[in-house]
Amino acid sequence: MSVAIVIAPLSNDTLRDWPLTHFERLARLCVDRLDARIDCVGIRAQRVAVNQIVRNFPPDRVRNLCGTMAWADTAGLLRSASCVVANNSGIAHLAAGLGVPTVCVFGASHNPYEWMARGPLVTTVHRRTGCAPCAFGSLAECPFDKRCLREIAPETVFEAVRRACAAADATVQGSPAAA
């Protein structure tokens, strides 16, 4: 099974961002186990940071598209994806609303039941830390080194991605979503 995955690794707030090293590990799992082709999206200013994710992959496997697409064009890319992985960010809401299988890695700054992306095929992965939800406005306020996100393992998110891709595959083939 070869799948197309879109990753939006950076939001507009570092407090909400799953670590880049985790995204890189997730990309490795997706490439190795799902034979995935991955496009990383973001704005131009995020391009250099996202290079940390793509650096160790062949360019035809994991692309850095930050700054190359307008928001309207991004929707087209998302529509063609088997799965979109994002933080609590606009891309997650866009993908979820388009009905694309979406996996959202959701930190503890916000209550997921209040702010999560909604759509027919969304999985919100969230760690219920004792400090959640903190409603902090910036990472500088977090005394716990953002462990609500840091302690969500790439393997856990990969499992959600795998299930989402399987569901998308089943939907395309007209059969019930695979469990």
Binding site: D17, R47, R55, H126, R127, C131
Partner: protein
Amino acid sequence: MSKTTEEAAPSPGNGNTLLRTLDRLGLARIVEDGARHDVVVVRCKASVGDDLPDALRAVAALDIDCPGPDRTTLPCMDASQDLVIADGVLERLSDYRASIADWFRVLRVGGHLVLSVPHQFLYERKLLPPSRWNTAHRRFYTASTLLSEVEEALDPLSYRVRILEENDQDFDYAVPPDEEAVGCGELLLALERIARPAYADKVLDERSEDRATGRFVRVPGQAPSEPVVAIETAAKPPQRILVLKVDHRGDFIMGRPAMELLRRAFPTSHLALVCGPWNRAEAEQLGLFDEVIEFSFFPEIASHVTDIATEEERVILFAREMAGRSYDLAIDLRVDQDTRRLLTVVAADHRAGFGTGDRFQFLDIALPFINPTISGRAEQRLIMPDRFTTLVGRHDGFAIVCPEDRSGMAHGDRLIYGPYADFEPGDWTLEIIIEPLESDFNLTYDVSSDVGSNVVGVGLLPVRHGVRPRIALHLDEALKGVEIRISVGPSNEVRPFRFLGCRVSKRGTFPALHQQELLVLLASLVAHRMRFPYQTLDAATRQPVP
């Protein structure tokens, strides 16, 4: 005419340009004196020798096949080379990241990587691949795209760009793009490997710009259980829906818009209604429901009944009624919370109703709001002196009495404090009943919660014959444990006085959401939520988590 075969392809460069670049970097001597330095030239076999200067021919070379492999790996140890030149190679390799990283890998600190590639608008003169001139060229380059590939490939804190040059020496701009270019047409990029600074990892850590400030007072630590949960949605509208509307005739009429909304939202679902027997005919006439179930939670006319079953008994009776039935969704269409517990005995995947999730943890769809019937009502009560503590006088019957002149105490010294009462949101008036036993004087007051940390009112408190000072208090949210403190004023006077408590009153508020509107809000919420119902699972075990 276009030439598209590898053998026939013209070269974009000129070996002298490469040498000049090396000279500008102070590296020409390294090449000329190759025996004493470690230099590698990566070349393409097909183009070897066509314009490489003699000095470069002599040094160690890796000649790749053209069309080339995906990537190259130099047979060199890490940090073993002074100079790596990749001349006309990068554009032929699909895995540019791995190739650039490998060429860079073998450089010593202070060593240089020189890349030469054909320029998109000098050599190729075309907007998109394929190349007119060389079928092996996989990508076109401008200064920006070449640098982008380097940035993707290399740790940004491990190198500096020394030269980035578009070489159009002797280029003839009069030659049209479908004819072979005349003159140079390559891009040159020279990088120097630098010692990675000690702070590099810190810079690349996305947290580095956000230093914690220590304002953590309200953050609890670790919880006993901190599962990673997966909140999963699925596009599966509810097939069997139960609507509870067990109150009276007027309530039923007010609930009709909400019921109609539910039918519109779930046109093909089986909709069952539970209502009082007095509303059955009306319900059937509506034509919205597939089934009507009678249940008397309330008596039809409360004032005609004296022996009403307890709430627990009525819930048990309802449980019997619901035995053997199951639903995807159950909704209690009543604003008052007295019927909410009926939902606990319905076998349903989702339960919806008014109230907070804290109070009704069984609600999957809880619409919290301030009940206007409760929050909007007027209140008046007297808080007696026995709810207060005094530091200067004594409790005497229904009063606190301070018969002595205590003038001279310090401004701010507490005299009386209490009553630690709870206040709902609204506009409150606190009437302090305090009177002088002799001459008039002034004290001060403050009103606070959270052990004085949240002060919501402060001011002068005149103690006068025939005057009852009033404190106006507007509360946007409920306050618990409110403390009223009466203290020595700025004149330091504390004449004999008597304190008889505090009368608190709240004005009633009339603007409110209508019951019909509230029910429509709940029905809309349910319809919206159930478009994409979700469940919370433990990510590891996939067992439901409340």
